[in-house]
């Protein structure tokens, strides 16, 4: 009896894995195999050895671009948090319907393609755009250039990535039991102290989830910084594309991709030890 029960349990636990099979095969074929080939290429082209890695890790250009990539990703994450946290809070306090309305407005930007959103910023921030016009109307004789600066690329990336932050924080805020806040108040925690000791720690998982998502996505950004950013501030993805498209340096580009991937995995690993990756999904 006990035996057949455990057999049943075993069969039960097998089912979910079977359901995952198509996805596993798909990922293995279309993601893992190419990825392994990228890894192989990074140590075989143009000749076997670690030459590509040596080049990337010691070359001043590559170091600069990697530092800039991580710096930009940090900055964008921070800005998204700054913008997203209050907005998520607002959503968690208003009525369900109003919250849905805000959510709709936020997700609406997902309906437009990356490229269109990037060009929209070019129109808005351009020399003949409304922002510069407003500045001149306000009496600023020589408005500073907005386009093709770190400002414009950061702004556009924050715009594109903020929804990830907002939705992550909102999900967590929504689940906070209001009675926790009330009991904190009854214990004498108000304003700043209530926020610092009760609300902020309760929302920390949302902040962490949103930040990791935004940070990791931002690391791979390509089109937006190329079209909107300053020529001096290159991102790694753009440089990788350039190595391959312009120089046919498949090995070097692969090595850079692998390094970017490894660093990203390390960050995710640290996050996992601290918070648990499973939290990213719920």
């Amino acid at each position: 009896m006990g035996l057949s029960l455990s057999a049943l349990a075993e069969r039960k636990t097998l089912w979910p894995w079977l359901l995952l099979l198509p996805l596993t095969i798909y990922l293995a074929l279309f993601f893992l195999v190419p990825l392994i080939e990228v890894g192989i290429m990074s140590v075989t082209e143009p000749r076997p050895g670690l030459g590509n890695y040596e080049k990337v890790l010691t070359g001043s250009l590559y170091r600069k671009v990697f530092i800039n990539t991580f710096g930009t990703a940090l900055l964008v994450t921070f800005c998204c948090l700054l913008v997203g946290y209050p907005l998520a809070y607002l959503m968690s306090t208003v009525s369900k319907r109003a919250a849905m309305g805000i959510l709709l407005l936020i997700t609406m930007s997902f309906w437009t393609s990356f490229l269109v959103r990037t060009y929209a910023w070019m129109v808005l921030l351009g020399n003949n755009g409304p922002v510069i016009w407003l500045m001149t109307q306000l009496g600023i004789a020589e408005p500073p250039p907005l386009l093709f600066t770190r400002f414009s690329s950061t702004l556009a990336m924050v715009h594109i990535l903020a929804p990830y932050m907002i939705m992550n924080i909102y999900t967590v805020m929504q689940k906070i039991d209001p009675s926790l806040i009330r009991s904190a108040e009854s214990m004498g925690a108000y304003g700043k102290s209530l926020f610092r000791h009760v609300y902020l720690p309760l929302t920390a998982p949302g902040i962490a989830n949103g930040s990791v998502l935004v940070f990791v996505i931002c690391l791979g950004f390509y089109v937006t910084p190329v079209l909107l950013g300053s020529p001096r501030e290159q991102m790694a993805a753009g440089l990788i594309g350039n190595q391959i498209e312009q120089f046919l340096a498949f090995g070097l580009g692969s090595a850079m991709s692998i390094i970017l991937l490894v660093v990203t995995l390390v960050i995710l690993g640290i996050y996992h030890r601290r918070f648990g990756l499973d939290k990213l999904y719920g």
């Binding site: 190419p34 080939e37 290429m41 001043s60 070019m122 020399n127 390509y222 993805a237 498209e245 046919l248």
Partner: protein
């Protein structure tokens, strides 16, 4: 309509597929058309530049070719030098025929990416490519800046005192370095081989004024048309696009840099016969004349001249009256390894 819908035939899980993710993100989206089963000779895949190029090529090259031979032409975007290399290495072909500029064709031929081809007209062969048309990188500017003088030369492009404002150049050192030397006073006939160090020293002077190093033709048109920069080194066809849109702009043929585009056949492509037929067709007098007349290029096959209407000539960089003040890019006597210089240029850009 014989031209099928443009598609990106990324299909098999090959390694380039992964690498091209970035390019795919920039350009296209659709995954379609398996390469398996496209080895028949009744179809040809051509790498397309899109925009006005595609319009002119469809009307004057692709459709007439299909009518003459019964071979259907499909176009594949975007134009990618890396893809040409990738498909030769993997044996998975997305396109059979593409066009390359003078800078890339030398590198491509050295890398063994090009199928040897016979010249369809005398003097038409260069590095296993067949000369199709010339295009210019020239100086253009906004006329609404209130400058007292009109810029004449690349030296004026560098002169931010007399012509204050933002600048833009192509992010392509093979074309930009000669311009820097001209600005530094080197005569057009003494340019090659280039003095690379001197060119970089001159570029240092303009660096902070170059707000954008453009990477795409459409982008350069937009920069000039919308006045994001006040002076730009731009392909002539892209300039006329901005001018035709009514932007307050002007240009000069003086010291314009002529570059040539060559039709090439991808090494060992399964559609070799059709591909070679097409290259011969596209560089023959009448189709080429129609193509360059519509797209404002300069025909490289002299036989095309008699079919080119006079009305089309003022916009052609190679027409009499324009060509005298231009110079031609010399990739064989360039003055260094273009790839190495390009790496140095990238480093210079980020520093």
């Amino acid at each position: 309509m014989t031209i099928k819908k443009t598609h990106n035939a990324l299909i098999r899980p090959n390694r380039r597929l992964f690498l091209q993710g970035t390019a795919a993100l920039a350009g296209a989206s659709a995954l379609a058309a398996p390469s398996i089963g496209r080895a028949q000779s009744k179809e040809l895949y051509i790498n397309s530049w899109g925009g006005p190029w595609l319009e002119a090529a469809t009307e004057n090259l692709f459709n007439p070719f299909t009518e003459a031979t019964g071979i259907t032409v499909n176009t594949v975007s975007p134009v990618s030098f890396a893809k040409l290399a990738a498909q030769v290495r993997t044996g998975v072909y997305e396109f059979d025929v593409t066009t390359l500029g003078g800078g890339d064709i030398v590198a491509a031929n050295n890398a063994g990416l090009l199928e040897p081809i016979a010249s369809p007209y005398p003097g038409g062969l260069f590095q296993n490519g067949v000369g199709s048309h010339a295009f210019a990188t020239m100086m253009a500017w906004r006329t609404d800046k209130g400058w007292e003088e009109t810029p004449q030369s690349w030296a004026d492009f560098w002169d931010v005192e007399r012509f204050p404002g933002g600048r833009s150049l192509q992010r392509y050192p093979a074309r930009v370095l000669p311009l820097a030397l001209l600005a530094d006073g080197v005569a057009m006939e003494d340019l090659y081989p280039l003095d690379i160090d001197r060119a970089f020293a001159k570029l240092d002077e303009i660096k902070e004024h170059v707000r954008v190093w453009w990477t795409g033709g459409a982008q350069s048109t937009q920069l000039l048309r919308d006045g994001e920069v006040d002076m730009i080194g731009i392909w002539h066809g892209r300039y006329f696009e901005a001018a035709d849109a009514g932007a307050p702009v002007d240009f000069t043929w003086n010291q314009a840099e002529l570059d040539s585009a060559y039709w090439v056949v991808a090494k060992e492509t399964p559609n070799m016969e059709a591909a070679k037929m097409f290259v011969e067709f596209a560089t023959s007098a009448e189709p080429l004349a129609g193509f360059v007349s519509q797209a404002n290029y300069g025909a490289l096959n002299p036989a095309a001249d008699e079919f080119i209407p006079d009305a089309a000539k003022p916009r052609m960089p190679t027409a009499p009256g324009n060509v005298e003040t231009t110079f031609t890019q010399d990739m064989l006597n360039w003055g260094g390894d273009p790839q190495e210089v390009a790496m140095r240029f990238d480093e210079w850009l980020a520093s």
